[in-house]
């Protein structure tokens, strides 16, 4: 299967086409195309159950029968490769009879419980029975029935995962779920068991179907065998309408449909909207179930205003008047630069731009940033990290790359769609996958090489790569020139030792990078969250220059949030790209003279009481900033704090005024994903309660300050269009950068490196309000290797005390299947466990000690 | 002062009061009502005198029939109290104004002079014979001694009735203005549609 021609259309040189006739029409298709795909390409509908465009064909259901001349029997079109001169009939009487027989055969054991079945109304079997089927059955025996439970409590539905309910009676054994789980997600928690009449799909023994993509299994099930709790028994499908939305939690912006009901103003589910450029029709569960926070019961309903130390409900007019009054007071007393603005990068373009203009024109301060969960941000717009973050990236190119490197990135947790792309490339094309991480991550199972370096030695491992390539002359000598002088590590072995990795492995990767035809190099959040990311970014710039990756592929730090790239493009950072800044100046008519402060610096200034007021929109710095105490102290010292959020959070509890923020599903907004692709999320429902979109809130505050932002929405759009048109991509530096590799400090008292990030089923602070996701992971945990757990004498679920010099938390242990070094990972998404309180913003690697909590 | 005497006095007073009020009322209906009061009181007096038949007849004929007829006529003509009635009335001549009372007084004198009143009204019922004023006696008197006056009175009443009819007919002799005959609804266009 090395040359699976299905996706290999990039080689037109070979005359690999065949011509066949389908229903009297001649068609020419690439060699290897199946008859079914050829017919579908012509717009001929052939009914299927088991076929899926992104999976391999198995021909399990036989529904796609076609008649092919000179073949003795009906042929299964999804498993029949098109050959020259084939004459295919898809609509002959024989085919119709065949389909009818298949439907009857499937219905022999399929219960007719459509009224209770949630698939009713969108069920493939239902539709095809209507179209091709019969209205009576010739089978007069009892249907096969799978049940669970004792006689009196018999039930058909079994819960095989936190969210998935299986009804084996309805299953028609198309194996789509099992195949998708295996081929697309690389999971083996679902399988087919037994033989013959009692064949059943079920969870693997002793396991639950809880992989982060399990929702897709429900969506692709052609019948109602797999249903999920989210949608189960909520509403009938024909009563709903769909809003075309996008994922608000990931950087790729997977396309989704929000199924809503207009009268009730409710969203009932979220499904994938296949976009082959971005998501291939698979969405992660965090996307699928995360929308539930929109419908959460504890949304903020009205503005809150602090009176006598207590937050009380207030009207919008009252709250806005207070905001305007207090901002003016602070402004008058302390001066322009004393007001800071933080905005979350999951808000839409218009909100971001409005806030940008509000801060820079209405307030007149340069203090605006969206990167609020990163410590020690570079204070220079031209830093290597900024360059790396601004580089272009194309998701679909991952598919076609033959060398894929993920560096310092837990892809499953951070970029689920790109994670699936890597799996796709690996499974269908046998692409070479290399992961270079401070701890082993999920996709190490498909990696040709999984390099685990010493936590904190980010730049050392990249230096080792560069030096190995230079020493072994893998690239042109001209490129090597000038490199070694800039690096602090004198040799590849030196660097590999500093990084704690095997030089041979590094050499393999370097050779692959040097020889790869198409390379994708992705740097992730573990780099970005590192306090000393700048050195690693510089090392990556050197790497890019050395291997000339840009000419053979792409290299970028992937944008983490749904509109991170949009925020960059709209100049929502202290140091916008020069082209963007030029457009902004033109649009604003002025540029604030004050110092540009990053989010990180703003917090520092707040701690010094140099910034006295702040506006925080949609963000929760206390929970997410990697030094909880620091962030809280900073915000507590403020004279006046306005927070817009959808929920009451740790940050809103400090606020003087809390304004309810509308969620992504409640207004139409544009989002720019990591590729720079602008996508629109349509409003599904009206803003719930009294919440308002961020741009409206910002405009209202500006109006209350008597400095309106825009004359009209049209003005806003034209201004924004000009800015978005500006090129924000920063060029690589002209020469090699100096990389000072510092040794990683160790500590006897706190031996274990701690990594804090998102759980695979969560993202940020909002998904905590999505009940389905809480069913997957409801509380924080300490993920660690089995060896470490054994050394601590703890088992899965035992509580451990995780202590750092500044704090401690008690969390249950979760033994990881892939982490094999003594590190610990704790998700930050759960407000009940303030894991960020363990972190110190200046630490290169946060280290903790773990002790078992006695029962 | 027996009970009978008291009753007589009260009845007499009511009768006189009713008669007086009757002629003093401007409202014709009120006049009729006072007349009824007077008549009932008189009937009581008759009964006390033993003339039960007369008393009953008084009520049946006068109160029951004739005054109802009066009321009917008054109501039909809708004669309400009219303040302009007296103002617009022609003043009587001085002769009439003096002559009528004088004549009445003279007449009264002769009557009082001629008639022998009983010495005392007490015990009236006891002093008359049993059948005094009963139907039988009245009938005998009426159809023997007073036969001709009685018949003449009847003729007189007949004449009066005929005269009244003649007078009444003259007023309504003109042709009616509204057509009562269904065939006469001629020139009026029937543009109204039932329902």
């Amino acid at each position: 299967m090395a040359t699976d021609a299905k996706t290999d259309t990039a080689a037109p040189a070979r005359p690999a086409t065949v011509t066949l006739t389908i229903d009297g029409q001649e068609v020419t298709v690439p060699k290897g195309t199946t008859v079914l795909e050829a017919a579908l390409g012509m717009g001929i509908q052939i009914p299927t159950f088991c076929w899926h465009p992104k999976l391999k064909s198995v021909g399990a259901c036989r529904m796609c029968y076609v008649e092919i001349e000179k073949m003795p029997k009906l042929a299964v079109s999804c498993a029949t490769e098109a050959v020259d001169g084939m004459v295919v009939h898809t609509d002959s009487d024989l085919v119709k009879r065949g389909r009818k027989a298949i439907i009857e055969f499937i219905l022999a054991n399929h219960p007719l419980d459509c009224p209770t079945c949630d698939k009713g109304g969108e069920c493939d079997l239902q539709n095809l029975t209507y179209r091709h089927g019969i209205d009576d059955s010739r089978f007069d025996f009892m249907k096969m029935r799978f049940t669970e439970g004792a006689e009196r409590t018999t039930f058909d539905d079994v819960r095989i995962g936190p969210e998935i309910v299986l009804n084996r009676n309805r299953c028609i054994l198309c194996y789509k779920c099992v195949r998708a789980n295996k081929e697309a997600f690389g999971e083996y928690d679902l399988g087919a068991f037994e033989r013959g009449n009692i064949t059943e799909i079920n969870a693997a023994p002793g396991r639950e179907v809880e992989n982060p993509f399990s929702g897709n299994l429900v969506q692709i099930c052609p019948v109602g065998a797999l249903t999920n709790s989210d949608w189960r028994y909520k509403i009938r499908v024909w009563l709903t309408k769909q809003a075309r939305s996008i994922c608000p939690f990931t950087g790729s912006g997977a396309n989704t449909l929000l199924w809503k009901e207009d009268h009730q103003q409710k969203i009932f589910r979220c499904t994938a909207r296949r976009n082959d450029d971005i998501d291939d029709g698979w969405i992660a569960d965090v996307t699928r179930y995360g929308y539930q926070y929109v419908m959460a019961e504890d949304r903020l309903q009205t503005p809150l205003v602090k009176k006598d130390g207590k937050q009380v409900k207030a009207s919008w007019d009252e709250a806005l008047a207070l905001v305007a009054k207090r901002l003016r007071e602070v402004d008058d007393n302390k001066g322009n630069v004393c007001i800071g603005g933080l905005i979350a990068p999951h808000l839409d373009n218009k909100s971001l731009y409005a806030f940008n203009k509000f801060m820079r024109v209405t307030i007149g301060a340069n203090n605006v940033d969206h990167r609020l969960d990163y410590p020690m941000l570079p204070t220079d717009g031209n830093s290597a990290f900024s360059i790396l973050a601004s580089r272009p990236f194309t998701i679909a190119d991952i598919d076609t790359s033959d060398v894929i490197v993920s560096f310092a990135s837990d892809m499953l947790k951070e970029h689920p769609n790109e994670y699936l792309r890597m799996r796709k490339a690996s499974f269908f094309r046998q692409a070479k996958i290399y992961t270079i991480d401070p701890y082993a991550v999920k996709n190490s199972d498909i990696a040709s090489l999984d390099v685990v370096y010493t936590p904190g030695a980010d730049e050392a491992v990249i230096n080792a790569l560069c030096l190995a390539a230079a020493e072994d002359q893998m690239v042109d000598a001209a490129r090597i020139k000038g490199l070694k002088e800039k690096l602090s590590h004198k040799s590849a072995a030196d660097a590999a030792k500093a990084a704690g990795v095997d030089l041979d492995e590094i050499k393999v990767i370097a050779r692959a990078l040097a020889n790869g035809k198409k390379i994708t190099f992705m740097a992730g959040e573990l780099l970005a969250r590192s306090s000393f990311r700048e050195a690693a970014a510089a090392a990556l710039a050197n790497l890019n220059r050395l291997f000339d990756i840009d000419s053979r592929g792409q290299m970028a730090r992937l944008a983490r949030f749904s509109n991170s790239r949009g925020a960059e493009k709209l100049g929502l950072s202290p140091f916008p790209a020069p082209a963007v800044k030029k457009e902004l100046e033109a649009a604003f008519g002025s540029w604030p003279a004050s110092d540009a402060l990053t989010a990180d610096k703003m917090l520092v200034q707040m701690n010094k009481e140099a910034i006295n007021a702040a506006i925080v929109i949609g963000a929760n710095p206390i929970m997410l900033y990697p030094d909880r105490e620091f962030a809280r102290e900073a915000l507590e010292k403020l004279d006046f704090l306005v927070v817009c959020d959808s929920f009451e959070t740790a940050t809103t509890s400090l606020a003087d005024v809390v304004l309810p923020l509308a969620s992504f599903a409640e207004y139409t907004g544009d989002y720019i994903n990591m590729e720079g692709r602008t996508q629109t999320a349509e409003a599904a429902i009206k803003p719930r309660f009294q919440s308002k979109p961020a741009y409206e809130i910002v405009s209202l505050i500006a109006q209350a300050l008597e400095k309106p932002l825009f004359k009209s929405d049209v003005d806003c759009g034209t201004e924004m269009a000009k800015i978005l048109a500006a090129d924000h991509v920063l060029p690589w530096p002209s020469g090699y950068l100096e990389v000072a590799g510092e040794p990683v400090a160790t500590s006897e008292e706190y031996p274990i490196p701690l990594f804090v990030g998102d759980d695979p089923h969560h993202s940020g602070h909002l998904t905590e309000k999505a009940n389905s996701l809480l069913n997957f992971r409801g509380e924080a945990y300490a993920e660690m290797s089995a060896e470490l757990a054994a050394s601590l004498d703890v088992r899965n679920g035992d509580s451990v005390r995780v202590e750092s010099p500044v704090g401690k938390v008690i969390v249950p242990v979760r033994i990881s299947d892939w982490i094999d070094t003594p590190v610990v990972f704790i998700p930050r998404n759960f407000s009940s466990t303030p894991v960020t309180s363990l972190l110190m913003r200046k630490e290169r690697v946060n280290r903790v000690k773990i002790t078992k909590v006695a029962d | 002062m027996t009970i009978d005497y008291t009753i007589f006095l009260i009845s007499a007073a009511v009768a006189v009061f009713g008669a007086t009020m009757m002629i003093m009322q401007r409202n014709p209906v009120a006049s009729v009502l006072y007349l009824i009061v007077s008549l009932v009181a008189q009937a009581v007096v008759y009964v006390q005198l033993g003339a039960i038949f007369m008393g009953a007849i008084l009520i049946v004929v006068y109160a029951g029939a004739i005054l109802v007829l009066f009321l009917f006529v008054i109501m039909l003509l809708n004669l309400r109290a009219n303040p302009e009635l007296s103002a617009g009335m022609p003043t009587l001549s001085w002769f009439t104004r003096t002559a009528v009372p004088v004549l009445l007084i003279v007449e009264l004198y002769f009557v009082i002079d001629r008639v022998m009143l009983p010495s005392a009204p007490t015990g009236m019922l006891g002093e008359v014979e049993d059948n005094f004023g009963a139907v039988h006696d009245v009938a005998i008197k009426m159809f023997t001694d007073y036969l001709y006056p009685m018949q003449l009175t009847g003729v007189l009443l007949l004449v009066a009735v005929v005269g009244a009819v003649v007078i009444a007919r003259r007023e309504t002799a003109e042709p009616r203005k509204t057509a009562v005959n269904p065939g006469d609804k001629a020139e009026k266009p029937s543009n109204t549609v039932a329902g």
């Binding site: - | 209906v29 038949f53 029951g64 109501m75």
Partner: protein, 334 residues
């Protein structure tokens, strides 16, 4: 003497109570009988078979607001119901409801007052009853009431003559105006117990009495004074509450009154075999009342001109004929 007064008072109270109760249940009977004749059920909610319906009606009427409209002749308006009610009750003073009976050793006559001109007294009372109606119609500031009053007075005048004349036949034969005498004349010891009843001797007189009595009491089909379809409520349109109920009671009291008088005059009064006299009397009155109601259920209302023509051109000559015929009979054969 005192005993006589007490006995008389007791009789008066008993008769008044009986009449008032009779009036109440006459309404019930009327509604029920008319309902059955019209294929309906009639009152059935208050009490078993709706027997407490009259009580409920009475309570309802008593507790209604007493509305006096603007523009009424206040005194007349107030007098009218009383003027209607009192004569109706007075009729029963002369009606013999039973033979003389002995009660705790006292001989008690079956009549409150045996007036020797009883018939005339009855005529007088029925003719006085019209005043209530006429005055009610006149004093109410309403054209419906006035029309009711006018119609009533005209009807009264027209039918009273025939009413009186219809009885004259009996008077000629019986040679007495006392109702007690008339009843005793109708007694019979033979097996043909109704042989002496005046209905046998005066059939035409009875018919005339029947018709005129109905007309006198403003009952259907002679209920023009209160013709609902034309005059809303007729003379009592503007009355409510107790004042209205007095009219109501008066109407039914008149009905019972003429029924008792008719029974006394034509149907032999309390005479009858086997049963006690009072029971016979009640049975006969009941039948009379039933006929009243039956008539209402059967006949439509007269038109006004029909009413007048019938009264003057049919009843009056017939009554004269009856009188003269009876007189001739008595002179020739008596």
């Amino acid at each position: 003497m005192l005993e006589m007064i007490l006995i008389s008072s007791a009789k008066v109270i008993a008769v008044i109570l009986a009449v008032l109760t009779g009036c109440a249940y006459a309404t019930y009977m009327e509604r029920k009988v008319v309902a059955y004749m019209q294929h309906r059920i009639g009152p059935s909610y208050a009490g078993p078979y709706g027997l407490l319906q009259p009580l409920a009606d009475a309570v309802k009427l008593a507790f209604k607001e007493d509305i006096v409209p603007d523009g009424v002749e206040r005194i007349t308006y107030a007098i009218a119901p009383i003027a209607s009610f009192v004569p109706a009750m007075l009729i029963f003073a002369v009606v013999p409801f039973s033979s003389d009976f002995t009660f705790f050793g006292y001989d008690i006559p079956g009549v409150i007052s045996d007036l020797n001109i009883g018939v005339l007294y009855v005529l007088a009372m029925t003719s006085l009853g019209i005043y209530g109606i006429v005055l009610a119609g006149w004093s109410s500031p309403s054209k419906y009431s006035l029309m009711g009053g006018i119609r009533s007075s005209a009807q009264m005048i027209s039918y009273e003559i025939s009413y009186g004349l219809s009885i004259v036949g009996i008077l000629i034969i019986g040679n007495s105006l006392s109702l007690t005498d008339i009843v005793s004349q109708q007694a019979s010891e033979s097996w043909l117990f109704f042989g002496n009843w005046y209905i046998v001797k005066q059939p035409l007189g009875f018919l005339l009495y029947l018709v005129c009595a109905i007309a006198e009491t403003n009952r259907a089909p002679f209920d023009l004074p209160e013709a609902e379809s034309e005059l809303v409520g007729g003379y009592h349109t503007e009355y409510s509450s107790m004042r209205f109920s007095m009219f109501f009671i008066a109407e039914y009291a008149y009905m019972i009154g003429v029924a008792t008088v008719g029974t006394t005059l034509f149907l032999g009064g309390w005479n009858g075999p086997f049963l006690p006299p009072i029971v016979w009397f009640v049975i006969k009155v009941f039948m009379f009342m039933f006929f009243y109601i039956w008539l209402r259920a059967t006949f439509p209302r007269f038109r006004y001109d029909q009413l007048m023509q019938f009264g003057w051109k049919v009843l009056f000559p017939l009554a004269l004929l009856n009188t003269m015929g009876t007189a001739a009979w008595v002179v020739l054969f008596g």
